[in-house]
């Protein structure tokens, strides 16, 4: 479904992505683990067209998308829940959700999806008239995921959805992600919490200083001494 071939990206003078290649197959949950500054977020921003890649190709179902603007990529069905949630702080919860559906013109479908995401996260319905900036961290993460779903993505990119959240809330969020996966949306998950990521995925990549150093089934990675030591804290 999505394929990265030898992606290079420079952040100023820093060679942040040094030939990243990976693949997300249809119906799969793929995760990318790695430490801080490894280039995980840069990879997601490259897929979304925010980071202009210097070399390499990004293919979505065979079509090259790496030279496209971010809005054209959203239009093709990829939507990102970025690190830090990035809720529009002065828009209400409802307006944040409407922004998620910015490119859609089917008013009745948008209405349906509003009801749908509010059924996934009932708290958003209660808070719909509140400003996004006034929500708690967990509620903002739910809003960020719901906002992304409003674009009806084929592939959802998630950057550190568990960061800074209480275990109970992480559980709620991953229950919803499982439901989204079961309904047929592809998920590409970036996580520092390797336990969580490996348990949730069908395929996993490990990234270090701008390179993919491993890519295999989660079980295989879990048994690898290097991964155990570096990311699972064993």
């Amino acid at each position: 479904m999505l394929e990265l071939r030898d992606i290079h990206f420079y952040y100023g003078h820093i060679h942040a992505l040094q030939g990243v290649s990976m693949e997300v197959r249809p119906g799969q949950v793929v995760c990318l683990i790695g430490s801080n500054g490894a280039g995980k977020s840069s990879t997601l921003m490259a897929i979304c067209g925010v980071n202009a890649v210097a070399r390499g190709e990004i293919l979505l179902e065979g079509e090259a998308i790496h030279a496209r603007e971010p809005d054209e990529i959203v239009k093709r069905g990829i939507c990102q829940v970025p690190e830090g949630r990035r809720i529009f702080p002065h828009l209400t919860v409802l307006e944040n959700l409407e922004m998620g559906a910015f490119l859609r013109n089917d008013a009745s479908g948008v209405k349906e999806d509003l009801d749908y995401v509010c059924s996934l996260f009932p708290v958003l319905h209660e808070r719909r008239a509140q400003r996004g900036g006034t929500l708690s961290g967990g509620e903002q993460q739910m809003l960020a995921i719901a906002r992304a779903l409003m674009s009806r993505p084929r592939l959802l990119l998630l950057d550190e959805p568990s960061l800074g959240l209480a275990p109970r809330i992480i559980e709620t969020i991953f229950e919803v992600l499982a439901r989204i996966r079961d309904e047929g949306t592809g998920i590409f998950l970036v996580e520092q919490n390797a336990h969580l990521a490996l348990n949730f995925s069908d395929w996993a990549y490990v990234m270090e200083t701008g390179r993919i150093i491993m890519g295999d089934e989660p079980g295989v990675l879990r048994d690898s001494p290097a991964v155990r030591e570096a990311y699972l804290g064993e």
């Binding site: 971010p70 970025p82 702080p89 002065h90 828009l91 922004m99 998620g100 910015f102």
Partner: protein, 302 residues
């Protein structure tokens, strides 16, 4: 005297507020002071004169006054929107990632360029703005109010209300607010940020064009310098209200003009401009975020 200065202040305030909108909208999205904005207003006034000249020779000003009034505003609005979009494309977009000083210098350069360009093309002498509306005047609480003043106030307040409604309710208005709050995130939900920025310049320029035509009608005279002082005053108004905040710009525009008007009436008409800029200095010292700034206004960034 009080009532008279109040009326004068309100009319000038409407003009300041309309121009200040352009500064504040652009600042809200790009954190850039578009110093060439005053020139757009000046160009609006000149285009108004040109439109009136054409309409006059066609005889339309005699036969259809209402249509003439619509055209004398509409054509400068379209013209200035094109100027605003071009300005952003040529002078600011190539410097999007550059240090903040670079677009500021570019803005001052564009201001000087446009001023001199109009001087070369239109001549340095004052131009008369033909009188279109022959409206009578009447007395209200001891103040002389003429029909043109009422017309300016009603039109300006109507436009401000329409803009507020637009930003609050429409899809594009929400996209403008979202872009102001987090540009990258707006692009991640599918907003074409460049188009929103261009549109923001267009809206600001349209408001400035209306202000330019109003001032032409009000004072009957236009020259290529009017953009400088009006631009600085409107900028002061935007800072006073809290730059980046739409309601603040409107409030600041009226407040500055009223202060100025009362100062001119009760203290000294000669030092009116100095007083206005003194207000700017005082605001910058004691409340640099302005009256509504930092309180989470609509076009506000956090």
């Amino acid at each position: 005297m009080f009532a008279q200065q109040l009326v004068n202040g309100l009319v000038v305030g409407a003009v300041y507020a309309l121009i200040a909108l352009g500064y504040t909208l652009v600042y809200g999205i790009l954190q850039l002071i578009n110093f060439a904005h005053g020139e757009i207003y000046m160009i609006g006034a000149y285009v108004g004169i040109a439109v009136l000249a054409v309409l006059g020779t066609m005889g339309l000003t005699q036969t259809s006054l209402a249509l003439s009034i619509v055209l004398v505003f509409l054509i400068p609005m379209i013209y200035c929107a094109a100027y605003g979009i071009t300005l952003e494309r040529v002078a600011y977009r190539p410097l999007r990632g550059a240090p903040r000083l670079s677009p500021l210098i570019s803005a001052i350069g564009m201001s000087l360029f446009l001023q001199n360009y109009v001087q070369v093309v239109q001549g340095a002498r004052d131009k008369a703005f033909p009188n279109l509306l022959e409206l009578g005047s009447f007395q209200l609480f001891g103040a002389y109010v003429n029909g043109l003043q009422i017309f300016i106030l009603v039109l300006a307040v109507g436009l401000m209300a329409a803009l507020q409604l637009f930003i609050k309710k429409t899809k594009l208005g929400k996209a403008m607010r979202a872009t102001a709050q987090d540009r990258t995130m707006a692009s991640l939900v599918g907003v074409n940020v460049n188009r929103v920025i261009a549109f923001t310049f267009a809206i600001g320029s349209v408001m400035a064009a209306v202000a330019g035509v109003m001032v032409g009608m009000y004072y009957g005279i236009v020259n290529h310098h009017i953009g400088f002082v009006a631009g600085m005053k409107a900028f002061t108004a935007a800072v006073l209200g809290g730059i980046g905040n739409v309601t603040g710009a409107l409030l600041g525009g009226f407040l500055l003009a009223l202060l100025e008007s009362f100062w001119a009436g009760y203290v000294s008409a000669v030092y009116k401009d100095i007083f206005a800029f003194m207000v700017l200095v005082v605001v910058l010292i004691f409340r640099p975020e302005g009256i509504l700034g930092g309180s989470g206004g609509e076009a506000d960034r956090t």
